[in-house]
Amino acid sequence: MQDPALFEYVLRLSDDSLILGQRLGEWCGHGPILEEDIALTNISLDLIGQAISLYDFAAELEGAGRNHDQLAYLRFENEYKNVLLVEQPNGDFAMTILRQFFFDAFRLPLYEALMQSPVEQLAAIAAKSVKETRYHLKHTSEWVIRMGDGTEESHERAQAAIDHLWRYASELFYEDAHDQTLQAAGLVPKMAGIQAKWSETVTAVLNEATLSIPTNNWKFDGGREGRHSEHMGYILSDLQYMQRAYPNMEW
């Protein structure tokens, strides 16, 4: 492999998209209103589309002859590098929207920065995905505001989701030696800048929604190193079922 750091970086982006897309797919047919069934399915579809492009690029970087499906479907749990946030269960609509909002508020500035990357393929994927992500963030921000400033119940549910998910937020800005190598070469942005933009978006939207930012500093991570929550195994059981039950077949 020519560039293990870049492979790892792209794999992390791919896994975030895949696992969140997989989670959103569970909503299909069960949304609170038909319009939201369409919206959640649409966001899921965008994320799966992004995952395909990202895995294709990761496979190319790896140079081991694997394709996007082999990367997406045929790894073991500790080889998936997504953040813990995206594997958390859907919960109620508030939990799903807040999880998505925290993610979108991170992905948008990240893609905007990656559009400037000298790694052409990564810049191209970011340029295509940034439009989708901007729409996702607009959609989830609007719902956070609606729920926060809606009824007493919706406010409580939204606040409960924030309080629960807050512990997973800081992992979005995880950095290790791989990131630092790429940052030093000027290929990817530093996370500090992304985190500042994330905080700005989150603060503005939660303020408008009359929701509070938790004061606790309880932080979970491990996903980026392949250490996952108990939920991950069940996600993979569904995701990998066909590929594991019927190995080496084409669909």
Partner: protein
């Protein structure tokens, strides 16, 4: 204008193939027939999301997952246009949905059969969407304007769905013996329910005559069912799948395929709520409605607050 005069003008429009539009006078029974038929179609789209949605998380590769997501999303979109068409007739979307939950309104019985293997997803696309298209192409010329226009858009998307289903089956039928067997098994289970999608035989159909006169329907249930069988036999041959009907054979004199009588007992049992998944489908829809109640309340409360701020 007297009622008799209005009715005469209405029938004249029907005769001259001029579309009936929402603000035009129409007989009450025409309006009710349309609401019943269009809402039933809308409910079918929505309930139809469940058996397929069930396979999104287990789709065998990323491309299939994306295609299935796109398809199910289209179905939700179809449900939306169709409910909107009903609203042009003065119906209330929430009331229509409640009527489905109580069993007063029906949806296509095919969705009361379970989707148990991946081959079922391909087969639903091919046979179920195929049967739906046979019905819906005819409805593109239906006499009520908003319904006809919704159908034009829906038919384009349904054709895509049928192709993707057929294409998924081609993969299975050209794959391993295990995959081929999976496809044949799905065919065995879905063939008869697909034929039942055209509804009761003409002799038993209570709504057909008047609907044909008003040009809501252009062909009878049996005519459409025959067209579907005629179109599907060669498609099954290409796949190398056997249609589970020993009496299926070309009838030179009729210029059509003959086929066995449908098991009407099963048909009526499923219509009456005793199919394998009737209870699960309604329970899933009811749960979505109940779980989503606070979300809809929040959206309404928020909209009111913002409107008040604006006017203040």
């Amino acid at each position: 204008m007297t009622q008799a005069e209005q009715e005469r003008r209405f029938l004249e429009k029907i005769e001259k193939e001029i579309k009936i539009e929402p603000n035009d006078w129409m007989p009450d029974e025409y309006r009710q027939t349309l609401i019943r038929q269009i809402s039933q179609h809308a409910h079918s789209e929505i309930v139809g999301m469940l058996p397929e949605g069930n396979w999104i998380t287990r789709a065998p590769n990323l491309r299939r997952k994306a295609v299935l997501l796109a398809k199910v999303q289209d179905e939700a979109g179809h449900g939306l246009y169709l409910y909107s068409s009903c609203e042009t007739l003065g119906a209330d979307r929430e009331q229509l949905i409640d009527d489905m939950h109580t069993g007063k309104a029906k949806y296509s019985s095919i969705f009361n059969y379970p989707a148990v293997t991946w081959a079922d997803i391909g087969t639903i696309g091919w046979l179920v969407d195929g049967a739906a298209i046979m019905n819906q192409v005819a409805l593109c010329r239906t006499s009520y304007g908003p319904y006809a226009r919704a159908m034009v858009k829906i038919c384009k998307e349904e054709s895509f769905h049928q192709r993707q289903g057929y294409e998924a089956l081609i993969k299975l039928c050209n794959g391993t013996p295990q995959q081929k067997a999976m496809a044949q098994d799905a065919m065995n289970r879905f063939w008869w329910p697909a034929l039942m999608m055209f509804g009761p035989s003409d002799a038993e159909s209570t709504h057909s005559d008047q609907s044909i006169k008003w040009k809501i329907k252009r062909f009878t249930n049996d005519e459409l069912r025959q067209s579907f069988v005629d179109a599907t036999v060669s498609q099954a041959e290409i796949l190398g799948l056997t249609i589970p009907d020993p009496n299926l054979k070309w009838n030179e004199a009729r210029g059509h395929y003959d086929f066995s009588e449908i098991n009407w007992d099963e048909f009526w049992q499923v219509v009456k709520g005793n199919g394998p998944c009737n209870k699960e489908r309604i329970a899933a829809r009811l749960k979505a409605k109940e779980d989503g109640l606070w979300v809809r309340e929040a959206a309404n409360a928020f909209a009111k607050k913002r409107a008040m701020k604006k006017s203040a």
